[in-house]
């Protein structure tokens, strides 16, 4: 990625982030969002983050980019997060499983 494209991307992402935080506070101080919209917005987090995780595992190589060790590490991390509600523990467990499997193979 060229410097120019990278700077353009960072500035656009920055503006979009600021707009999503400031829009309602600056322009719509009193009007609440419609109930249906807030209801749908609640599911944006889980939906986009899990899609993003899948995409990062594939690493731009389609289904061939998905390695067993990565899937195993993520599976363990998901289970650990569900039990402990602790992201540090999840990251530690996931990476440990990844290293163990890489070392064994």
């Amino acid at each position: 990625m060229s410097s120019f494209a990278a700077i353009a991307a960072v500035l656009s992402v920055g503006m979009i982030t600021y707009a999503s935080r400031a829009g309602l506070i600056v322009f719509l101080a009193d009007r609440p969002l419609p109930a249906n919209i807030t209801r749908a917005l609640r599911y944006v987090g889980p939906a986009v983050l899990s899609a993003l995780a899948v995409n990062l595992v594939a690493g731009g190589k389609g289904i061939d980019g998905v390695e067993f060790v990565e899937v195993a590490a993520i599976g363990v991390a998901v289970a650990v997060t569900a039990i402990t509600r602790n992201l540090i523990a999840a990251l530690a467990a996931g990476m440990t499983v990844l290293w163990l499997l890489l070392w064994l193979s």
């Binding site: 410097s3 990278a6 700077i7 991307a9 960072v10 500035l11 656009s12 992402v13 920055g14 979009i16 982030t17 600021y18 999503s20 935080r21 400031a22 829009g23 309602l24 506070i25 600056v26 101080a29 009193d30 609440p32 969002l33 807030t38 209801r39 749908a40 917005l41 609640r42 599911y43 944006v44 987090g45 889980p46 939906a47 986009v48 983050l49 899990s50 899609a51 993003l52 995780a53 899948v54 995409n55 990062l56 595992v57 594939a58 690493g59 731009g60 389609g62 289904i63 990565e70 991390a77 998901v78 997060t81 602790n86 992201l87 540090i88 999840a90 990251l91 990476m95 290293w99 890489l102």
Partner: protein, 247 residues
């Protein structure tokens, strides 16, 4: 109403700053590994390192930053920006929830304040109902500036560590693990699980959509599925309540 404009003297002012820092710090601890992972991702990014680092200042949103720097290798400008926009939709929720607290605030603060509105600050400020006016503003800015500066420091430390860690350690997998963990943390009910599973499965099926478009296809399908599951669940609950009344 709260009294505003020079209503607080220096002593209460620093007491509020101190209270803000004390409340803000514990919430920052879970963000530390995320910041380190982001730092490593910045050193591995297809973007020039300085540009990727500048997301700390220009974006200041962990998930959007991590997506931006780690997708740079495979995505076009448009998918990158669209993905960040979808990730940031939760901020719309935060600003909707907090906007009434900004009604009695000066105009400059309405413009400056939202820049700092990360997950932690939202959690902190939505719970801070006992203060208002200039006290609330001072609390908000103290905590916000604390998060902003400590975040930048932690990410920079991650970059220093990242450049000395060998690639065999496979730290490139850490962002995916982080996002998967965030999914679990963010799921609060059954429709949330539906949204996450549909988002992941559809993205997996749509991996061949060019320019990482699968992320958006997956995300939008997940949101629709979560919304429908939510509607179905509350309808079932209403029916149960109705049959209970008839008995």
């Amino acid at each position: 109403m709260y009294d505003d404009d020079c209503a607080i003297n220096d002593q209460t002012g620093s007491a509020i700053t101190l209270a803000a820092l004390r409340a803000a710090f514990p919430l920052f601890i879970p963000a530390i590994p995320f910041g380190l992972v982001l730092g490593v991702a910045i050193t591995n990014s297809a973007m020039p390192t300085a540009v990727a680092w500048s997301t700390n200042i220009a974006v200041f949103a962990g998930a959007a930053q991590l997506a931006t720097v780690s997708l740079a290798a495979t995505a076009t400008w448009l998918t990158l920006v669209a993905t960040a926009a979808v990730i940031n939709l939760r901020h719309v929720m935060y600003s909707a929830a907090l906007s009434p607290r900004f009604n009695d605030q000066p105009r400059w603060f309405r413009w400056v304040g939202p820049f700092f509105l990360i997950d932690q600050l939202f959690a902190l400020m939505s719970a801070r109902t006992e203060i208002g006016g200039s006290e609330w503003r001072r609390f908000y800015l103290s905590a916000g500036i604390f998060y902003f500066s400590s975040w930048t420091i932690v990410v920079t430390l991650g970059m220093l560590a990242g450049s000395s860690i060998p690639t065999e350690w496979r730290l490139d997998v850490a962002p995916a693990i982080m996002f998967a963990g965030l999914v679990v943390m963010g799921v609060a009910n059954r429709p949330g699980i539906v949204a996450a599973v549909v988002g992941a499965v559809v993205c997996l099926l749509a991996l061949d959509v060019p320019n990482n478009g699968g992320i958006l296809v997956g995300a939008i399908s997940g949101v629709i599925a979560g919304y429908l599951a939510d509607v179905a669940e509350s309808r079932r609950a209403e029916q149960r309540a109705a049959t209970a009344r008839h008995r």
